[in-house]
């Protein structure tokens, strides 16, 4: 018994120390850094200031923030449009097929997403697989120039984030009681109405979880627009990187990350609130 208790204490303490040292402490350092001044010779001057936040109220930052938001909203909508039918069909397959399909979704995670982005290059490039296929089929006569455009980075983002939409949707739809749809049909609802009024509302938690998991990372996955989009625009991730490396302005880079963290926390807060209300309605 004694050793069991000891084990518990040790295990909890290790996790606690781990989180404190590697998650909480760095975060506090970033918060502190965001209130310091940029130094000339050193990284920081120990003068408290809010200038790093007031500096953010400028057209460049707002433009970049807005553009990142637009890109990630488009990514989320596309992921939902592709992921929902996918999860819907998946949930109705036989158990064997279902497991096989889930396995296929998870396999790509065994390879780094950076490497998979390079794989997309070989598909989309001027002499790549897609163009060769279309040319051989005589569907086009000139190669398409897709790589290094916004479309290419959109393709990369949707591809990378789609599993994060599919998995939570599948988790809610798998538990869905399909007899509810039969009941709705018996009571005179057509297929579409049964879907909109029964399936969608009940799977809403899955939709929201999927949207959160796609929307937030899409704002900061800077390497995909860099590799596939030709680095012709700046997203929030690049902006933070630039301030730390090119500008050597760690305080400003820190304040941008804090604003982003705050924005994400806000979205999660809204989600929690929504979830809570939802439960009350059901009860």
């Amino acid at each position: 018994m004694m050793s069991n208790r000891l084990f518990k204490i040790i295990a909890i303490n290790i996790i606690f120390i781990w989180l404190a040292v590697l998650a909480l402490l760095p975060f506090i350092m970033v918060v502190v850094a965001s209130f310091l001044q940029q130094g000339d010779e050193n990284l920081f001057n120990w003068h408290l200031t809010v200038i790093n936040y007031t500096q953010l109220i400028n057209p460049i930052f707002l433009h970049i923030f807005w553009r990142s938001l637009v890109v990630s909203v488009i990514t989320t909508i596309l992921c939902l449009a592709l992921g929902y039918p996918f999860a819907y069909i998946l949930a109705q397959l036989s158990e064997k097929l279902r497991l096989a399909c889930l396995f296929l979704i998870i396999i790509p995670f065994w390879t780094s997403s950076l490497i998979r982005s390079y794989a997309i290059i070989t598909i989309l490039k001027t002499q790549g697989l897609l163009n060769q296929l279309l040319l051989t089929l005589h569907l086009i006569h000139q190669p398409l120039h897709i790589l290094y455009t916004q479309y290419a980075s959109q393709v990369g983002l949707v591809y990378s984030l789609l599993p994060f939409m599919v998995l939570p949707l599948y988790a809610t739809l798998e538990k869905f009681d399909w007899r509810l749809v039969d009941a709705a049909r018996d009571l005179g609802a057509n297929r579409l109405r049964a879907f909109w009024q029964i399936v969608v509302p009940i799977s809403a938690p899955g939709i929201i979880a999927g949207v959160m998991l796609v929307l937030l990372p899409a704002m900061t996955l800077f390497y995909i627009p860099e590799i596939l989009g030709g680095a012709k625009s700046i997203l929030l991730g690049n902006l933070i990187k630039n301030q730390f490396l090119e500008g050597q302005n760690w305080p400003l880079g820190s304040s941008i990350s804090i604003v982003l963290t705050f924005f994400m926390a806000l979205l999660i807060g809204v989600y929690w609130k929504f979830n809570k209300n939802k439960k009350q309605v059901l009860i």
Binding site: Q38, K125, G230, A231, S233, L239, F244, L245
Partner: protein
């Protein structure tokens, strides 16, 4: 008893790591061939720890965040030598301990970024200029930086995703110094570069070579080392020097302040400046060697290679990137961000 053996084991590991005869090299990835490192260990008995970085900024930030991190040799580019020297991050070199300096090309020594080479010794160098695919354009029609603005290059141009490199093109096209700190000139360069954006197909951050080889871009501004590999892989590619002045880059060996193995660092720099070793490095990596004795020992096809060893009259008109100071750097970054969001 169990603990005792554990402690002994830990002590042994500690001893293995604290052995004195080592040198800690912090360098660009794949910038010193393994054969050269092995030879150094064989000749001197000094064990080499080779760690890598991907950008000058990374090197700078790491040394700044922890000045006693323990590197003995670093290889910053010219403009970072100037900056780090100015901020007291580099050891002043005792040139008397470096007799092999006599092998280095005088045209690459005593440059404005490090007068008298007090802090740095050239390691490898090269130029930045235009590569063009002659299947699509006649290379003879491209003679100045301004030619890049022609409409026929719409959505075809590859540039490096590097703020200073891109601004150098704008500034050189306007006839200004690439190291200007005049806000008006920097602004004009930004406005000039904005007009170039329709021609820009991509800013490449991870290797321009396959992009030019497979003709995803048909014209580009690239480093000479990359150009050398490109012209070998695709016979239609030509490297062109502009008449309006070329851009020279020099990567340098320096010793950071607080280097724990100073004597070994001097041994290493001297070792690299041996003509035989400099030749090995340059021939294996495809970048130009500053070691003139080494170059004279290379095959004729390399000595006469215009990409790697441009003629003296062109070399004499080169500009080298220097450090600008924090405020000017921030101004460049401001216009760089504006340029990117205009695209």
């Amino acid at each position: 008893m169990r603990y005792k053996s554990l402690i002994i084991l830990l002590m042994l590991i500690g001893m293995a790591y604290s052995q004195n005869n080592v040198i800690n090299i912090y360098n660009w990835s794949a910038y010193t061939p393994k054969s050269v490192i092995k030879l150094f260990t064989k000749q001197t008995g000094i064990h080499v720890n080779y760690t890598t970085y991907a950008s000058n900024e990374e090197l700078y930030e790491k040394l700044k965040a922890d000045p006693s991190i323990g590197y003995d040799i670093i290889v910053p580019s010219s403009y970072f030598v100037q900056r780090m020297a100015k901020e007291g991050m580099l050891e002043k070199l005792d040139l008397k301990q470096l007799p092999n300096l006599k092998n280095i090309n005088p045209l690459l020594l005593n440059k404005p970024y490090d007068p008298g080479n007090q802090y740095s010794i050239p390691y490898l160098w090269g130029t930045t200029s235009i590569i063009v695919n002659n299947k699509y354009y006649d290379p003879k029609t491209i003679t100045t930086w301004n030619d890049l603005w022609q409409q026929r290059f719409y959505n075809q141009l590859l540039l490096n995703d590097d703020m200073r490199d891109v601004f150098s093109i704008g500034l050189a096209a306007l006839g200004y110094s690439i190291n200007t700190s005049d806000p008006e000139q920097i602004k004009q360069a930004y406005l000039k570069l904005r007009q170039l954006m329709p021609n820009v197909k991509l800013f490449s951050s991870d290797g321009a070579i396959p992009i030019m080889l497979d003709e995803d871009a048909t014209i580009g501004v690239v480093y000479s080392g990359d150009a050398e590999q490109m012209t070998k892989g695709n016979k239609k590619l030509r490297y062109v020097y502009t008449k309006s002045g070329i851009i020279i880059w020099i990567d340098c060996m320096s010793i950071p302040k607080n280097a724990p193995h100073l004597a070994n660092a001097y041994k290493f720099i001297n070792f690299i400046m041996q003509p035989k070793i400099a030749k090995m490095i340059s021939m294996q990596l495809g970048y130009s060697s500053p070691n003139i004795t080494a170059v004279h020992g290379m095959p004729n096809r390399i000595q006469n290679n215009m990409i790697m060893y441009p003629p003296q009259n062109i070399l004499a008109h080169g500009q080298t990137e220097g450090y600008l100071g924090k405020a000017t750097q921030a101004l460049y970054l401001h216009y760089w961000e504006l340029l990117k969001i205009s695209g």
